[in-house]
Structure formats: C-alpha cells, structure tokens
Symmetry: C2
Subunit: 323 residues, 2 copies
C-alpha cells in the first residue's frame, strides 16, 4: 500500500480523496489543512492541522500538495520535500524552471523525490506536445482550452466594482479545430483560437453598457478576444454556472513528405476539472514512490517519467495487455 497525505483541502484536495478511493493500492493517511475541514468524505480519515504532518513522517510515503501556484506551492513544495516525497500541480508556466531548481536542490540533499507541475496542462498536454514534436519534427502544435471555466478570468470579473459574482467560460473555435484536424496549416492569432463568454451578476444600478465596455477592453484578460457578456441573476448563476467542467485539445499537424499530412490529436472532455487533475496527481504519486524506492532522488516532471511508473500493474502484465 502507498500511504498518502493530502496537503490542503479545497476542490483539488477533495478530488484527490475521491481518486485514492478508486485505487486499491492507495491508503489515505490523513488530510492536513490550515483550516479545520468539516466534511472529509472518507470513513475514518483523520483531519490534522498542517503543522502535525512532520510528527507523522514515518506513516507517510508521499504528500500530494493541493494548494495554489500563486503563494502556496512555491513555499510548500520545497519545504515539505525536505522530509517527504511530494507531488504538486504548480502551473505558473514561466516560473516552472525556477520552481524545479528549488525543489530539485532540496530533494537531492534529503534523498526524496518530487514530481512537480503535473495535472493536464502542464502535465498530460505537455507530454503530448513532446511526443508529437519528437515524432513529427516538421510540424506545428496548437493547444486549445475549453469549453471550460477559467478561474483566473472569473476572478478578474469579480474584482470589477459593481460585480457581485461571475463565471467565465473559455470556448475554443471549433471551426478552426476542424480545419486543423483535416490537416490544414493555419496561421492563427489569439483571437482566432478562443472566445470568452462571461456570466455576470451585478449590483442594482450598475450601468451595464459601461461595464460591458470595461470587461471587453480589459488588457491581458479580454481585450485580445471576442468576448460575450451576459447579465444574469445570482440564482441563475448558482443553478447553471457553478460546475467546473473543462477540457481541451492539443493538435499537431506534421508533414512527412510532400503531400503526406499526419495529424495527431489529444483531447480531454472533463465534467470536473479538479477531480481529473486530482486523478493525474494520484497516478504520479504512485510513480513518485517507485522513483524514491529506486533511489532516483531529485525533482522530476511528466516529461522524464516512464509511462509504466504510473500503473499499479507489473510491466510484464502491461506488455501483454496493452501493446
């Protein structure tokens, strides 16, 4: 059995708890949280305050870190990797090399293994970009996200004065995807690839035309996109726009000879983004423990972990069943 500690108990932590229940080689040691969560789903699972994790060092094979990339993980992953094997979903793309270096140093010094930046993007989408580009070097890779809720864009809407609540969907341009899948080579702008759809609850007396203009011209978030703004009630937002579906597609179009176009496509369609991300973290937690047993100390990413490490089955069985 692999003994797992969940660090942080938001949507991602709850998803990890559900995923552990689906994997018979995994045992949840406990949930470690800064706040006292009241609704742990697993019978008999203990809830501890974060500081207790060190006291339970001997009972834990791997910590799955479920905090955010902005402030939690840059601090928590190096700190916990001094005592534990760790897995995180650090997703601030530009800072991944720095985060890797920080964690790698701690892990090598303390004979632990950390798998950083796993999930689906970064994570499975990164993997698929690597496979596709290695196989078809004369080609173009395009990534589409959605249809799904962008937390960052929803937060940006909620920060506008007069906005009470909001949900933003990122919607890929299906027409462009269809053309790429047919092997067409396209030169695409940001505006060509995605639309943005906003559902916004506003306070009484807010000028909706003015607010629409504020949203659609907001730099970094909406200015570069076709953006649709819908004003709805809090009841409607709660009823229809509080789920967390997501997904996306990585399409690589390559050419092996004159008119030989080859298209590789990897797509996810997720009813629950946090539950799927959690399932990826759990599979890489298994890989993390195997790497630690082999003494492969240091930081790792999905790019340098062999696929068979993710499975509970012996590789002989995988060869017989899957090849």
């Amino acid at each position: 059995m692999i003994n797992v500690a969940i660090i942080g108990y938001g949507n991602l932590g709850r998803g990890v708890e559900r995923s552990i229940k689906q994997n018979s080689d995994m045992n949840l040691v406990g949930v470690f949280s800064r706040r006292q969560p009241v609704d742990v789903q697993t019978d008999g699972a203990k809830v501890y305050i974060m500081d207790d994790v060190l006291k339970m060092k001997d009972q834990i094979d791997v910590c799955i870190l479920c905090g955010g990339s902005a402030t939690d993980l840059p601090e928590q992953t190096p700190a916990l990797t001094a005592d534990f094997n760790t897995v995180d979903s650090f997703d601030t793309h530009a800072l991944i090399p720095e985060h890797f270096a920080n964690v790698d140093q701690v892990a090598k010094k303390n004979n632990t293994v950390s798998v950083i930046s796993t999930g689906w993007d970064p994570g499975l989408f990164s993997l698929n970009r690597l496979y596709a580009q290695s196989i078809l070097p004369q080609g173009e890779t395009t990534t589409f996200w959605g249809k799904g809720v962008s937390q960052g864009h929803s937060d940006a809407l909620r920060r506008i004065p007069g906005v009470i609540d909001a949900t933003q969907y990122t919607i890929p341009n299906e027409e462009v995807i269809t053309r790429l899948k047919a092997g067409e080579r396209l030169s695409l702008t940001t505006r060509d690839k995605h639309f943005r759809q906003c559902f916004v609850v506003v306070a009484d007396g807010v000028d909706k035309d003015q607010l629409t203009a504020t949203i659609t011209t907001m730099p970094n978030y909406f200015a570069d996109y076709e953006t649709e703004v819908n004003f709805i009630s809090q009841e409607e937002l709660n009823a229809n726009h509080k789920k967390m579906p997501h997904g996306g597609t990585v399409i690589h179009t390559g050419t092996t000879h004159e008119n030989s176009h080859q298209v590789i496509e990897y797509s996810l369609k997720l009813d629950s983004n946090p539950e799927f991300t959690a399932s990826v973290l759990v599979a890489y937690a298994r890989a993390c423990v195997k790497l630690a047993k082999e003494g492969k100390y240091g930081a790792h990413t999905v790019l340098d972990i062999a696929p068979s490490y993710l499975s509970p089955k012996p590789v002989e069985e995988l060869r017989a069943e899957l090849l």
Copy 2:
C-alpha cells in the same frame, strides 16, 4: 550525430529514410536489403546487401528493422541485437511477450538495447491506453482503427480464386465514437465498432454474387462485420485505392464521482501509414541510443521509456518550452 542503418527497404524502410532527413541529429549510414533496391532517395546513401551489415558494425549506432512481423522480425531482431542496438515494429500482439523475452536475453548478454513493437498500434496507442487507465482506473478503453487500408484483409481478398487485385478499408463507426466522446458508456460488439469496405478487381466470368457471399462470410476476416463489396476495374483501383492512409482513435471514458464523466481521446489521421510508423521508429531509435549510452541494456518498449528520451533537445529546454 546518430548513425542509422535501415534494414529492409519496402514502404516502411523508405519512410524511415524520409524521416531521417527531417531529423538533423540523424545520419543514414546505409540501406541493407536482400534485394538490390534501385531507387534510394537520399543523395550519396549507399545500398548494401544484408550480409554486409556486420562488416560495418563500427559505423552504426542503431539498426532500424523494417521487415514484416510474420517471418522477418522474429528472426532478424534477436540476430541483429547480438551486435547492434535495434528498433523494430513487431506487431503480432499475442507473440509480443515471447519476442520481448528472446530479444531481451540477447541484448543483456551482448550489452545492447532493443526497442521492440514500436509504431502506433502497438506503440502510441498502447501508451495512451496505459496513461488513460492509470489515471482513470474506473473506466473503459475502446480502440477504433481507420479509416484505413488493412494489408491483412486486402491480402485475404487477393488470395480468393478469381480475384486479381483488391483493397480493403477498415471504417470505424463514427456514430458510436461520437456517443463515447460525449461520455456515454456503451457495450459494443465487434460489428458495432467497424465496417469493412472492399474494392475488388475480378477476372472475366467470375460470379460476383457468389464471390460477394464468399467474402462476407469469410471467418476471422469478414464474417463478424458489416462488409460492403464493390467490383471495380484495375485502372480505377490503381487510380483511387493504392494509397496507404490510416489512423484511429483510443477513447477512454472514466468516472471520478457519481456524475463526473471524464473522456480522454487520442486520435491519429494519417495520409501515409508507413511514413508515420517510420517517424515513430526514428524517434525511438534516438531513445534507443540514449538508453545504450546509459548502459540500460536489454529489451524495452514504449511503455518503459520516458518521453524525454524521444527528443533531441535537452530536458531543461523541454521543461521550459513544453510544460
């Protein structure tokens, strides 16, 4: 530079030659063939008879074996692995464990590395089945092939007395694929998943109704499918049905919680099946040479090779670019 020998010069060998030209870290040492090929595509590339390969041992880092799985590879891969690092596309699913054991023994004895059974199925499709099943253990994986030419089924048609030439397309049931992608769980028979479409050239005087009955009831090949038989002229077959497109889809539908359905899809749409398979072999030839440099002697498959081994780029660069 990685110095490559191509063993066998049919469609796959020609595809490998084209792929090597697209990879700037690869150098074609020569083509080794039982017959003297007249049309080598690469300027200055030498053609040798198969027996000369041993004389050039010092110049070759890896041999890419482009023979067939029925008779060539079971003999050639173990034989050449005694002296060379090798890559093959052995695809007789039921015999892969035996082939692996044979090659592994030779490789470990002679300090070489062999990557067996690579390509897209077995190969990339196997990889995707493994990733998907490891991440979503409560789920179902379904593989569809086509639209594409099945060499085995085309050969079976050509062996029928009265048939002069034939091409058989395997066609996946798009309606079923659409339903699976939407997250539906389906219990599918062989007949539900694929259709078979035959284009057949017959000798004068052949009873077409009788022949159609023979084809559609042929056990192992057509009896379990809806099969369409079209009689056409040799000219039409040559003009429209001599290309080698193929492709397929691996769909995994999993459940992470009650109504949370998660769909992972991997699809290939290939204008040239042999050229794409060749491109996969070439990427794994790079991995093979890296594994040999690290002393990881023995047989390997796509399942136990880390993705970063396929790329010519250093892993630091991959982390910065792809995560």
